[in-house]
């Protein structure tokens, strides 16, 4: 099995408060990893450590290593911009940039200096199709991305990430504010996409992890309590906390 990320003795501090404690595990390529856990368990912080988005905040500090294809992404000479092109991210709140649907999708490619019209057109169609949005917007690519519904906006954000042709996709509660139909479309897209990408899905909705994830990790209070195949975590969890969380005793 091909390993995409190696997480080694990861500690993370926010203003000297330890929010991730001694995390160790591996994330295999071309699988969907679901990360579940109650609010404040460090899921999002962990996710944002994988593409170094935490760097944008002040007062953060990291110990340990995160290896992407064997290279430590926190090494001082690692190129952060290149990292973020390889590891795309979809946020909890859909944020289309204030520009057209088309320009939103090609934002990433244009940053890399790709301005060839035919190539961009191809990318737009391919990415929007993969995000299950093409049929709904193909006739109005020039309208503002902000005019779309919430569910469409989130799929636009997914398409925007796909257009960068990344290797891994991080999703931070991508359907927390969406209706069931939009959620289903995003989940269908993810199941399709794992053939090409490594997908890490943070979710507050344990059922969502059960539906789409191949492996599931349970975080609690900054610690990785348990990780295993989704079937095993949801049927025969090894830890009492995991069992209590997935059966809804707390969280």
């Amino acid at each position: 099995m091909n390993i995409k990320f190696h997480i080694q003795d990861l500690n993370f501090y926010f203003n000297n408060e330890k929010v991730l404690k001694g995390i160790n595990f591996e994330i295999p390529a071309n699988k969907i990893l679901g990360i579940i856990g109650p609010s404040g368990s460090g899921k999002t912080t962990f996710l944002r450590a994988l593409n170094r988005m935490n760097d944008l905040e002040t007062g953060t500090r990291i110990e340990g290593k995160i290896l992407l294809d064997g290279e430590d992404i926190y090494n001082s000479d690692y190129d952060v911009v290149a990292l973020r092109k390889k590891v795309g991210m979809v946020f909890a709140m859909p944020v289309p940039l204030p520009m057209s649907i088309y320009e939103n999708v090609v934002y990433g490619p244009r940053l890399s200096g790709n301005n060839d019209k035919t190539r961009l057109d191809e990318l737009v169609e391919k990415s929007l199709t993969a995000a299950y949005l093409w049929d709904e917007v193909k006739d109005r690519l020039k309208t503002s991305g902000m005019r779309l519904s919430g569910g469409q906006q989130q799929r636009l954000c997914l398409a925007r990430v796909l257009a960068m042709e990344p290797e891994a996709i991080l999703l931070d509660e991508p359907s927390s504010g969406l209706d069931p139909i939009s959620t289903a479309k995003i989940e269908d897209a993810l199941t399709e996409l794992k053939k090409e990408y490594t997908i890490i899905l943070v979710t507050n909705n344990t059922k969502q992890a059960a539906r789409v994830a191949d492996n599931t990790a349970f975080f609690l209070m900054g610690e990785l309590i348990e990780i295993g195949s989704t079937g095993q975590i949801f049927t025969t969890p090894g830890k009492i906390e995991t069992n209590d969380y997935i059966t809804g005793r707390f969280g």
Binding site: M53, R84, V95, P98, L111
Partner: protein
């Protein structure tokens, strides 16, 4: 005794509304007063002919030139400097002691009386650098004077751009500069333009800082090193020396109309820009 909310509500409306009406009345009174005395003087000949006999007769053409050139030079110098500084402060530095000191410093600079800038301009640009009383000295002095305003208003405008736009841009592999260019500046532009327009208005009406640095020559300048006279300075001299009250009001009315036109065109431009984007 407790007053019924109905009455406190009425009282509040009366006080708040009264303040608004009073403000408006003062503004209208000043404008009407100046225009009433000045408008009869203004005609095409007044605007396009040279002053005669120190301004007792003739027009104000050279002061129009001075009033256009000085603020223009100031804006050309101060706008890029101000925007670059505010971008650097808000996007490239993390909030710390140094940035707080810089911000405090710009706030202080913005509050310094213009005559101090005039004195500084006189000592530094006119004497030390040897530019003499000239458009260059005056423009540089005005640029220094409006720089803090442009920095602070631009910074506010940049800060008002949602943080989530930055996050999205960075997460898509943008550098700080690409984020500034493609997301921050386009969205902060209306606020930045407002700051620039306020500064234009301020420098058009400036007297103290200009009289010390650009002088008060009534000749039409033919280089940046020539002295010039702005409308505000012309008005000051005509009124102060008791040369011609009539022409002083004519100049004042022209000045007010000019500032009004600058502000109106700025609003128009901005509305056009905003409606085009959304």
């Amino acid at each position: 005794m407790r007053i019924h909310p109905r009455y406190t509500q009425r009282g509040a409306v009366a006080v708040l509304g009264g303040a608004t009406v009073l403000t408006l009345m003062i503004l209208v009174f000043i404008i009407v007063f100046i225009l009433e005395k000045g408008l009869p003087v203004i005609n095409l000949k007044f605007l396009t002919s040279n002053p005669e006999d120190m301004g007792r007769a003739g027009g104000i053409f050279p002061t129009l030139i001075g009033t256009i050139l000085l603020p223009l030079l100031a804006i050309i110098i101060a706008t890029p400097l101000g925007i670059f500084t505010s971008v650097y402060l808000s996007e490239y530095t993390k909030e710390n002691k140094v940035t707080r000191i810089i911000r405090f410093g710009t706030d202080c600079l913005a509050g310094i009386p213009s005559i101090i800038f005039g004195l500084f301009g006189y000592i530094f640009f006119v004497i030390t650098l040897g530019f003499g009383w000239s458009i260059l000295s005056g423009g540089l002095t005005l640029a220094v004077m409006i720089l803090p305003t442009i920095i602070r208003t631009s910074e506010e405008a940049i800060r008002a751009v949602p943080k989530s736009y930055r996050e999205v841009s960075f997460s898509l592999g943008a550098t700080s500069w690409q984020t500034v260019k493609k997301v921050i500046l386009p969205n902060a532009l209306p606020g930045i333009v407002t700051g620039i327009m306020l500064s234009v208005g301020r420098s058009i009406g400036e007297t103290a800082a200009v009289i010390f640095t650009a002088g008060s020559s009534l000749r039409i300048p033919d280089s940046l090193f020539d002295s010039t006279r702005t409308m505000a300075v012309h008005f000051y001299i005509l009124a102060r020396e008791g040369i011609s009250a009539e022409n002083a009001y004519g100049t004042a009315a022209t000045l007010i109309i000019a500032v009004l036109m600058v502000n109106l065109s700025a609003y128009w431009l901005m509305n056009r820009f905003i409606s085009k984007r959304s």
